[in-house]
């Protein structure tokens, strides 16, 4: 069985789904079900009695076989992310934490220094740390060395739908990494998810591409199939590229009759 291993946890699905930006929680739950995702991200927010429908705890309880991966979005320093992780663990009962520290709302690029520091502390405390990072091979290696469960480099900016703009750096990260590499952010279409898997990513995390689709559950299903296809392709072994044509049919027979 080809399983995704993160710490001591294993998952048969290699699609991780975010729960943000859905029109309502019913559509979100339908999309999670359709995606087959077993690891689902959530964010921590202040309780607001006027917006209690935003509380995902009840809806998420209706899903079976799901492990929650809270993120630290909203934190702009390592200390804030560590505090958020501790609070999130109280609610999720899960050791997974997506370290996400992006101080600038204009581009949402992750702060490498604060991300490294928070990840180092949380990994030491026993969290399964999944840091959201720029596609930086050096940082990825440093995060592996401090005990992260995976690294999650961006394909392109969060919510941009620009796909695998960082593919050259992603290839280096995948080649060098001893831990699972998960592309997180920027994907728009299932073909990009398939390509990420063919490149050797261990999994793919999508949110906007599904939530902002015309039919989110159908798009979730499409991403699930693409991830499976891409994974099968790399396991099967892609053929070598050639600079010139290589015939698939005999070229001599017809000329002789």
């Amino acid at each position: 069985m080809d399983l995704l291993q993160l710490g001591s946890y294993t998952f048969s699905s290699r699609l991780i789904l975010g729960t943000g930006k859905f029109s309502n929680s019913t559509v979100m739950i339908d999309a999670v079900r359709a995606s087959g995702a077993q690891l689902v991200t959530v964010a921590l927010r202040r309780f607001n009695r006027e917006q209690s429908e935003d509380d995902l705890f009840g809806p998420l309880l209706t899903l079976e076989g799901i492990t929650l991966m809270p993120n630290t979005s909203g934190a702009s320093t390592a200390a804030e992310a560590v505090r958020a992780a501790h609070i999130a663990r109280e609610l999720s009962g899960s050791p997974f934490i997506k370290v996400e520290i992006h101080p600038n709302p204009q581009h949402l690029m992750p702060d490498p220094i604060e991300t490294f520091e928070a990840s180092r502390i949380l990994a030491k405390e026993g969290f399964l740390v999944m840091p959201y990072i720029a596609a930086d091979p050096v940082l990825a290696k440093r995060l592996e060395e401090v005990g992260c469960a995976s690294v999650m480099p961006l394909g392109s900016a969060i919510g941009s739908g620009q796909g695998l703009a960082t593919s050259e750096m992603l290839n280096i990260i995948i080649r060098e990494s001893g831990i699972p590499v998960i592309v997180d952010a920027g994907l728009r279409s299932p073909s990009e998810a398939a390509l990420a898997m063919e490149m050797g990513c261990a999994a793919v995390l999508v949110n906007s591409a599904v939530a902002a689709a015309g039919n989110p559950p159908l798009m979730a299903e499409a991403f699930a199939e693409a991830v499976v296809a891409g994974r099968k392709a790399i396991r099967a072994g892609l053929m070598e590229r050639s600079g010139s044509a290589v015939a698939t049919s005999p070229l001599t027979f017809l000329g002789t009759i």
Partner: protein
């Protein structure tokens, strides 16, 4: 009466109120909320005994959608 800071807003409360009393006042059973008082997490089993003091900074947090 005392006044606490609840999620950044001033909130009056009867003296001797506990965390559980506060949750009732805001209309939550607390099952889906994390409670943090002065940066300390108050676990569910401690909420009925934890009395709030004048000036306490209380955060009530929940899971919402996020990627």
């Amino acid at each position: 009466m005392i006044t606490i800071e609840l999620n950044g807003q001033q909130q009056p409360l009867p003296a001797d109120s506990t965390v559980s009393n506060l949750l009732s006042i805001v209309g939550s059973d607390g099952k889906s909320l994390a409670v943090v008082v002065n940066e300390q997490i108050i676990r569910p089993e401690k909420r009925s005994a934890h009395k709030l003091q004048e000036g306490d900074r209380v955060e009530l947090l929940m899971f919402a959608g996020g990627g």
